[in-house]
Subunit: 416 residues, 2 copies
């Protein structure tokens, strides 16, 4: 940790000092807006093109700002991490030193007035299954044989990953209706509250990463909604796993909170009750591979319902992100800058921590009742789902992730 984590450091921008701000000067996450890169501070964005043009950065920080100035952050993720760290350190100074305000303020843009883009071109997206409780509930009490031996995962679809706010078109697909098989709009549309990691520098094909090396390749994190069409998924998944039940859309929050910014919030990884194989074992990762982050999912309905459905924590991850990345590369598979690894649904043992409707409603059998009397077995057209998360720890300024939201739109009509 360094001065960027100092809880006494305060931005000269009031909105960054509000206690509920996701983006105090201790955060400084990277994103993209209106076709160029930026860094969130309070309710503003530091426009990295303007920052470079203003001559306010030099050396490694300037190179990072140039790499992050374009439509995606991939060139920044591809650099060694010291470049992004240098830019973060420089921004931390510029935004907290009142004497810099006059020069920096012209580089700020109001976040409310711009379109937030997908921060990286996701080269590949892999989704894991890291929650024991989610896995048990979805498996009706059964755990897959490999669950405690390795982080189970499947290849997701990268082309349909979109930034927060992109409409969620209800997919059509084949599913069972009693004994019959029908093609039509998915009746059992669900959210899955997940957390995602973005790979920075990758590994070459055939060159596995150790857990400790993997930990060094993690650029940062965002929120992820792994929208799920349950009936399509159930029908298609034998024997090759999820496909069209997931690939219609995946939503991510628009800010990448860096590994740097999360340094104060490292915690011990989950305890394991069987021995972890050597290639997934690291005493350092066991001591600090976890993250003290709480997450929630809220539903907002067209009739004015607004209710938190899930409240959970990254403590529910059985594997760390470094273990997930090490495992991913253990067969020689190459990963690169902008590859995204999802945690899987982050449910815990507590009822309130059930992180998708399938768990909350026992697969639709027991609808939840909202405060305004509406019931939901599954998501209906017009419903919006909003994810939020905070990293917090005594003695440090909490940091957030911004919102990951999406509203359900009716399915397209197929000619019959």
């Amino acid at each position: 940790m360094n001065e960027t984590h100092d809880p006494k450091r305060r931005a000269w921008l009031d909105s960054a000092c509000a206690t509920d701000s996701d983006f105090p000067v201790q955060n400084l996450p990277f994103g993209a807006f209106e076709g160029r890169g930026g860094v969130a501070i309070g309710d503003r964005i530091v426009d990295l093109q303007r920052l470079s043009a203003a001559g306010l950065v030099s050396g490694d920080a300037a190179e990072a700002a140039r790499a992050a100035a374009g439509p995606t952050l991939n060139p920044l993720l591809a650099l060694p991490q010291r470049f992004a760290s240098a830019l973060r350190a420089r921004l931390s100074s510029l935004l907290s030193d009142p004497s810099c305000r006059a020069r920096v303020e012209p580089c700020l843009v109001a976040m409310a007035g711009v379109r937030l883009d997908l921060p990286v071109a996701v080269g590949a997206y892999t989704d894991f299954l890291c929650s024991l409780d989610h896995t048990l509930r979805m498996g009706r009490g059964n755990l897959p044989p490999a669950f405690k031996h390795l982080p189970i995962a499947y290849n997701g679809r990268a082309t349909s990953v979109r930034a927060s706010g992109h409409p969620v078109r209800r997919p059509n697909g084949q599913h069972k209706a009693g004994e019959a098989v029908r093609f039509g709009p998915e009746p059992a549309l669900d959210y899955e509250l997940e957390f995602a990691m973005l790979v920075g520098e990758g590994n070459a094909l055939g060159e596995p990463l150790s857990v400790d090396a993997a930990a060094q390749r993690i650029f940062g994190y965002c929120l992820l909604n792994d929208w799920s069409a349950r009936n399509i998924q159930t029908f298609e998944s034998t024997p090759l796993g999820p496909f069209l039940g997931k690939s219609f859309l995946t939503t991510v929050s628009p800010w990448i909170v860096t590994t740097d910014a999360l340094a104060p919030f490292r915690t011990a990884a989950a305890a394991h009750d069987i021995e972890v194989p050597a290639y997934l074992r690291s005493s350092r990762d066991q001591a600090e591979g976890g993250l003290a982050i709480d997450l929630e999912a809220e539903i907002v309905t067209p009739k004015g319902g607004r209710e938190r459905l899930s409240r959970t924590s990254l403590r529910n991850m059985y594997w760390t992100f470094a273990q997930m990345l090490a495992h991913h590369s253990s067969n020689g598979c190459n990963l690169g800058p902008g590859d995204m690894l999802g945690s899987g649904t982050l449910s815990g043992a507590a009822d309130e921590s059930r992180a998708c409707l399938a768990e909350l409603t026992d697969r639709g059998a027991k609808p939840v009742t909202l405060a305004n009397g509406e019931k939901r077995a599954w998501l209906e057209d017009g419903d919006e789902v909003v994810f939020r998360a905070r990293a917090s720890r005594d003695g440090f300024v909490p940091i957030g992730f911004g919102e990951c939201r999406g509203r359900i739109e009716p399915a397209v009509r197929f000619p019959s």
Copy 2:
């Protein structure tokens, strides 16, 4: 069909007129070599950069040649198909008209002397399960519930797709050894003989393609070896499907044989014994969605064994590529130029058509004996597997796909 398919047309290059040539003037597949695009003819490659520079193409053909001149063919695939068709037609004339020989010959490069690259940057790779017989054998006689309702598929790993000749490093991974779980080199390494389709113009997110529209988006085809680590795959696949058992490497042949070139070899699609849903139904596709292509897999061992292990045909596909693409997009998933769809292992009912060792050896229980006395339950280090394929039909000049080959190298050693 047009004059490019005329069986009487002959190239002025002798090697393109040999009856066993994969690349007569009726083929003209696109590829990439030494960082630039080319077209195969006999034992030569037309260097598209030189062709453009020589002023031998104009209009749409010239635009296609420019799009295909770079390190990958993706810009060509992104163009409407008439551009590639125009270039193909122009090359067919230039290479068959003896009066053009003097001007064209300086644009030719000997194929034997150059490195053949991966022809496209594969944006996404999806692997299907289209052979009824493969599915039945692998499922010990059981068919998954969805098999006859939809083309079952999973997302593959695009980053580890490599061109023919790339070494195949035996992966390490966790697998069962009796009751114990071990991490180490995969003992049951296999090939899967597949055929792959490359998408040209894609579809936007949320805009499904009909079967007939999908057929128009198919740029071309190549061979694909879906190398499989059977024991890793078996242990990891519940419940999310194949992951590390496949993602260590996928090999493709370096030439993309175009939909245009395959026009004479269209055949009826497979008959279905249950009704196909409307979104997968097309009378045109039923009549001509198949391809008359035979394929084979040969093993070459370090001790001089050389033997054909599998001989099969695309007639073993239960679904057409247009149906696979229409299904893939039916939930709104977007596909783009260079996305690759694999057929799945192309086994048929006949013993010789078993298209992977798992089927040939009953999962290793009954090793095959080669003519030189060697036995193989699974692939051993040093073994090379070579795929070849030919499209043929009475009255037309057969065309081939080149080779898809890979040699097994020992696993990397992990520190224990």
